[in-house]
């Protein structure tokens, strides 16, 4: 029988993979070449994290699936990522708001996963999560520095940052919505309920926005819902089609 935390860990792996794919799309399109490299590096960390988690999942869930099976051979309804990470990059300001939110969330949820997995004796999972905490702390600092510079920068950068906050706001609530998978994992002593992280994560994000002299996250007119049940927005299928095309057209292809 597979451990009760498997569905929750799958959701974490899907968040990492899908966000890595979106970050990779910035390469050659970021405002400066250093930022091409920075976003590619963040994406690479997330891709590595997803690969490690899929490999671990395939070993413990009894399916024997490889990392490629998880990434290339599942369809849209089988992916469990948040709507926030499947959004196209859009304005650079949107990406920095998203990175600040996701990295802040990752720091806290992977810290909880590392400590609980360690107590439960699941060393490999604890190790992957511990590494994720270090890396996401670095990502969070990177996003913070950009939000500070753009928010407290020129009139143009400030206007675009506030517009980005308006656009991203509808996706925030889903980050802190507990799924059945989260509850099953926490009942088994692994991980943390996202709802319990809301005040600390949004507190941190809010303090960065205030320091950047930006508006607080606005109250949105609607809320994204359903990613954890495999219900995605219309952009998801197009992104997966691009991501999975090569592997599905040439099954078994290797470098």
């Amino acid at each position: 029988m597979s451990p009760p935390c498997v569905p929750a860990v799958l959701a974490l792996a899907d968040d990492a993979l899908i966000y890595a794919q979106r970050l990779g799309e910035w390469i050659s399109r970021a405002p400066q070449i250093e930022e091409d490299m920075a976003l590619a590096n963040v994406g690479l960390d997330l891709l590595g994290r997803a690969r490690s988690l899929y490999t671990w999942l395939g070993a413990v869930d009894g399916s024997g699936r490889s990392e490629d099976d998880f990434a290339y051979w599942r369809d849209e309804r089988e992916f469990r990522h948040l709507w926030l990470v499947e959004r196209p990059g859009g304005d650079f300001a949107d990406e920095m708001v998203r990175l600040l939110l996701m990295a802040s969330l990752d720091v806290e949820r992977y810290a909880a996963l590392a400590s609980t997995a360690s107590v439960a004796g699941i060393d490999e999972l604890a190790g992957i999560a511990g590494k994720a905490v270090n890396e996401s702390t670095y990502h969070r600092d990177h996003a913070r520095l950009w939000v500070l510079r753009l928010g407290d920068g020129t009139e143009e950068s400030r206007t675009r940052m506030n517009a980005a906050l308006e656009r991203v706001a509808p996706y925030v609530d889903e980050l802190f919505t507990d799924s059945w998978a989260d509850r099953a994992a926490v009942a088994a002593g692994i991980g943390v309920l996202p709802s319990s992280l809301r005040s600390s994560v949004l507190g941190y994000v809010g303090s960065v926005l205030a320091e950047a002299t930006l508006d607080p996250l606005p109250e949105p007119a609607w809320h994204a819902r359903g990613g954890r049940e495999g219900l995605h927005s219309e952009v998801c299928g197009f992104m997966l089609a691009e991501m999975q095309h090569l592997a599905r057209s040439h099954p078994g292809a290797t470098w």
Partner: protein
């Protein structure tokens, strides 16, 4: 499966050979001095070895190259090697040996000091590239340097510039 080709050596020599494999991106730095070799399980009788390594960064693409190099190096001294990538405990730059730090400096890459990754908040300035804790220039030794980008040419490096000698240089990031 790679067949072993060389004359089989004893376990301590095998360890030396495995740890002497170098990072493909940093050819003066051995994986032993990088601190990523976490275990060797040797069967001298059967000529088999399981080498456990841990990645410096989750997405480090060099891991696959190094894994192949380990298999080849072990084959040269009579062993069939398999490589296991383990994430527990996670790598930290504290595991770089003194010789590893020296190897980085030889390539003009600034090496992190032990414990550098957990020194708390970093001061921030607005409007220009933020100046973090001083990293000494690996060419001229000056402490008058600035951070250009927190992400450099590979996953493990950041990019700095020396105000004294004017040269840009990589820093092996502290984590």
């Amino acid at each position: 499966m790679t067949r072993s080709t060389g004359t089989r050596v004893l376990a301590p020599e095998l360890r030396r050979v495995v740890e002497a494999v170098t990072d493909p991106e940093i050819p003066t730095l051995t994986i032993g001095d990088m601190g990523i070799v976490r275990g060797l399980s040797v069967d001298e009788e059967g000529g088999e070895v399981v080498v456990t390594i841990t990645p410096t960064y989750s997405g480090c693409p060099a891991v696959e190259v190094m894994s192949r190099d380990i298999v080849d190096a072990a084959a040269d001294v009579g062993y069939v090697a398999s490589v296991v990538v383990s994430h527990h405990p996670p790598w930290t730059s504290d595991w770089l040996t003194d010789r590893g730090r020296e190897a980085l400096r030889e390539l003009h890459i600034a090496a992190p000091e032990p414990g550098a990754g957990r020194s708390g908040p970093v001061p921030v300035t607005i409007g220009r590239a933020p100046h973090t804790e001083s990293v000494s220039c690996p060419r001229c030794g000056s402490a008058d340097t600035e951070l250009i980008s927190r992400f450099g040419t590979t996953a493990c490096k950041a990019l700095h510039r020396c105000r004294a000698c004017g040269d840009p240089f990589d820093e092996f990031k502290a984590v």
